[in-house]
């Protein structure tokens, strides 16, 4: 990076009360791009992710969770007990030194300790605060509990994920936790840019549910405009055919997706123009969509005939095999390379293991390796975007609980050495 240039958010300080997945992802953007982000936590009420696997050596421990670590790169850690007599006052003194406050507690929790926007912004107009609980600050569900795993159900992802003849299984993960933080970051950064130009902060009432609905593609308008309810269709699509995951001989899956007629023509060429492709009802997408099952059957047969598992010794050709050289067989990687050479949208359904070995992600430097005091060298996700002049930088591993207490309490809050020791002994930092 050009030394003349400032990191995007250099000089900004963030009091990060947020927890679990959504909030920490939002402030991670700020931290990885230059802001000083301080995680405000408690040892008495530790953040849920610190207690969630995977743990180093499968040993639960407050500083052992990889789950927590990934979302908290480049941040500082301070601990405080809000219920200690001096806790709220110390927190408010810290916020005075901050530009942004982020939090994701159930509505009312922050106010109970005097950390609501009105109180925190008294006497200043530049404070930017983002609250991001599941359902926002208002409405009949405002106090409902849950995590991304159940919000994905209320927001339609279960209904839209699974096989048409099966239950609405949804994604296998707490999906909205990895979706809505980006929306929250968009709202926050727009407000931050406004603040840079005008000096004015504001309060953002972010409801995770509200944002998640924007990720439903055309499903909302298909209902409100056409009265048609989209529902899960396995790996099929109402607008593309073929469109599925096909099993290779080694047990892995390869997806093939023909959105346009051009994709379909290229696939036909890649498959060697088998006869079924040129049947009348296969020619145009609109007709082909009615033949999905047959298209899938043919392609799955092709994968069975033309892929092989290099770990398994090749059996001798059957006695009734046609004369001439045997057909060229492909490994899973080779199939995708073949299709891509023909310009067919296709790819391997990559496992986490494959992701870590993916040459493209390695080239992009997607995974950062950072050294953590108790967890050692671990991989962290980097941002999906690279800024050419001021790229994101994961400056340190996630903080241990209260790792930066001395700096935060003395330098920022302004305690003397004696006060610091006294408060620590008195449990204010628990």
């Amino acid at each position: 990076m050009d030394p003349e240039l400032k990191k995007p958010f250099a000089g900004l300080r963030v009091a990060d009360f947020a927890w679990v997945g959504v909030g920490p992802t939002v402030s991670k953007y700020l931290a990885d791009h230059g802001a000083e982000v301080i995680r405000i936590e408690s040892a008495t009420y530790p953040e849920a992710l610190r207690r969630a696997p995977p743990f180093i050596n499968d040993t639960p421990g407050i500083d052992n969770s990889g789950y927590f670590a990934n979302f908290n790169s480049s941040k500082l850690g301070m601990s405080v007990d809000f219920k200690h007599a001096r806790g709220p006052e110390l927190v408010r003194r810290l916020v005075e030194k901050c530009d942004i406050v982020t939090e994701s507690y159930t509505p009312g929790t922050m106010a109970r300790f005097g950390f609501d926007y009105e109180t925190l912004s008294a006497g200043r107009e530049d404070l930017l605060m983002v609250s991001m609980p599941l359902y926002g600050q208002t409405g009949p569900w405002a106090n409902y509990m849950g995590f991304g795993h159940v919000l994905q159900a209320a927001a339609g992802f279960n209904h839209l994920t699974g096989w048409p003849d099966g239950p609405p299984i949804g994604t296998g993960i707490a999906y909205t936790d990895f979706l809505v933080p980006h929306f929250a970051a968009i709202g926050m950064l727009a407000a931050l840019d406004y603040r840079r130009r005008t000096g004015k902060g504001q309060y953002i009432d972010f409801g995770q549910y509200d944002a998640a609905v924007h990720a439903l593609g055309t499903a909302v308008l298909d209902w409100t405009v056409n009265g048609h309810e989209q529902t899960r269709m396995g790996n099929h699509d109402f607008d593309a055919c073929p469109h599925n995951a096909y099993r290779c001989k080694d047990g892995r899956y390869v997806v093939v997706s023909c959105q346009t007629e051009q994709h379909w023509e290229r696939l036909k060429a890649a498959l060697g123009r088998p006869e079924w492709c040129d049947m009348d009802r296969m020619r145009r997408k609109a007709a082909r969509l009615n033949e999905e099952k047959e298209v899938d059957r043919h392609i799955q047969f092709w994968f069975e005939d033309y892929t092989y598992d290099p770990r398994v010794p090749t059996p001798p050709p059957p006695s009734d095999a046609p004369e001439g050289p045997p057909p060229r067989l492909f490994t899973t990687e080779e199939v995708v390379r073949l299709f891509q050479e023909f310009g067919v949208p296709s790819g391997i359904v990559q496992s986490p293991e494959a992701m870590h070995a993916d040459p493209q992600l390695a080239h992009r430097g997607h995974y950062w390796t950072l050294n953590h005091p108790t967890m050692g060298a671990r991989t962290y996700d980097g941002p999906a975007f690279r800024l050419s002049l001021t790229p994101g930088e994961l400056t340190k591993a996630a903080p241990c609980l209260g790792e930066d207490n001395e700096y935060v309490y003395k330098e920022l809050i302004g305690l003397s050495d004696d006060e610091f020791v006294e408060l620590m002994a008195d449990g204010a930092m628990d």
């Binding site: 359902y135 239950p167 994604t171």
Partner: protein, 425 residues
């Protein structure tokens, strides 16, 4: 001004009011640009003369395909202005460069290298406007061994690892019908755009190039599977009706009700230190199936993993309980007892949801061209000083040619006519 158009609605109080964005994007960048419009920016969608290719994405209004009836187009391009410019002609590209000179952000999705061939790459655009932020959203990014690979949403979900986590062992991986790889690329790209815009503000107006990878955006949506591989060397995979817990398939979280399905973690809250209220609930209706005994209560409260037999018993008890009841009533009662349940909602149920109605969420958008108005999703974030706003319907092909080329580039009607004759616009 000629051809005064009812869209987009003005939005001078948005946080990005005063900025201008050029949208040269396909599915990977249109939502990104739309969100910028809803935050106040003037977003100009540049289309070929016969309309953008995504206008043929289904579904369609009343099922009738046409350039103005794509619900994809309606959803992703609402509130933008549209101009046509034939990028295959130098005169068309010149129009775009003139617009770039008057813009702050360009969102584009050309395959890597192709924009350079026609002089629309970052280097060329920065010469026209050193302050421009060019956001390039591509399947795999601008560099690397897969940069030229072609991908759709399905390929992004597969190569980004997310799809591996969905589905079950028997039928393999499965996607979400609404395109999540596209969505992730759009919204993470939008964060990149705003980060670069902010950087410009603190670095004397210098713009830069933002290189966004759909694959990486999806990789960021793998929950804890990345760390689970890194730390435990275990591949989390599709858990069916259960959920992934650090690489193991946890207990079932999806239960059938009289009228649909509900989701509930930890077997509805029956496992863990706070299981008491849920056990009481079952016991009150005489459906605890023995779980209200001292031994079971103590066992469940430990929160330790159950044996397969115990799990079958507990899951079966909850299944039977849910099957005779309505989902929203179940969720309300579970929440009242401190357990985080949620109903499985379809698009209709989301639109009818009491919560979103309580938030006054939905927006009615006028389509004066067909004499109707329709419900659209509302504010994804409520900003107290500089609100989000829906900016009206999506534009027709070239609806704002006269307005944009006249007001911004100062082209006269005669000049515009000449460009039309030359098939540039």
């Amino acid at each position: 001004m000629p051809n005064e158009s009812p869209t987009p609605l003005p939005h001078p109080t948005g946080p990005l009011a005063g900025y201008r964005v050029l949208d040269l994007a396909d599915e990977k960048g249109q939502l990104c640009a739309r969100l910028l419009a809803e935050l106040g920016a003037d977003v100009i969608k540049v289309e070929p003369r016969d309309g953008d290719a995504t206008r043929s994405n289904g579904p369609f209004f009343r099922g009738e395909q046409g350039p103005e009836s794509s619900l994809w187009w309606w959803t992703m391009n609402a509130g933008k202005r549209s101009v046509t410019a034939e990028l295959r002609l130098e005169a068309g590209r010149d129009l775009v460069r003139q617009l770039v000179a008057n813009a702050d952000i360009v969102v584009e999705t050309f395959a890597p290298g192709t924009s350079a061939l026609v002089g629309l790459d970052y280097a060329a655009l920065a010469k026209v406007n050193p302050g421009i932020v060019v956001v390039s959203i591509t399947s795999f990014g601008q560099t690397g061994p897969y940069k030229d690979w072609v991908a759709t949403d399905l390929v992004g979900s597969a190569m980004g690892g997310h799809m591996y986590l969905n589905g079950d062992a028997e039928r393999g991986p499965v996607r979400t019908l609404a395109p999540q790889a596209y969505t992730q690329a759009n919204i993470q790209g939008c964060v990149g755009a705003l980060t670069a815009l902010y950087a410009r503000g603190v670095n004397d107006g210098r713009g830069q190039h933002v290189d966004v990878s759909m694959q990486e955006a999806v990789a960021n949506a793998m929950d804890n599977a990345q760390q689970t591989w890194d730390i435990r060397r275990v591949n989390a995979s599709g858990p069916g009706t259960g959920r992934n817990v650090g690489g193991m398939v946890g207990p079932r979280y999806l239960y059938e009700t009289r009228d649909g399905w509900v989701t509930a973690l930890a077997i509805g809250g029956l496992v863990g230190p706070k299981c008491g209220p849920v056990i009481d609930w079952l016991a009150e209706s005489d459906e605890a199936n023995g779980l209200d005994g001292e031994e079971w209560r103590a066992r469940l409260a430990t929160g330790l993993p159950l044996s397969p037999e115990q799990r079958t018993h507990v899951e079966g008890t909850l299944s039977a309980f849910c099957r005779t009841r309505a989902k929203e009533a179940l969720v309300a009662e579970a929440q009242a007892r401190g357990s985080g349940w949620a109903p499985v909602f379809s698009p209709r149920e989301i639109v009818d949801s009491k919560q979103l109605a309580g938030r006054e969420y939905w927006v009615r958008v006028k389509h004066e061209d067909i004499g109707e108005s329709f419900i659209y999703p509302g504010a994804p974030f409520i900003l107290s000083e500089t609100p989000w706003a829906q900016r009206g319907r999506a534009p027709h092909v070239g609806e704002h040619n006269a307005q944009v080329y006249g007001d911004i580039l100062g082209l006269s009607e005669a000049e515009l006519r000449r460009l039309k004759m030359k098939m540039v616009v």
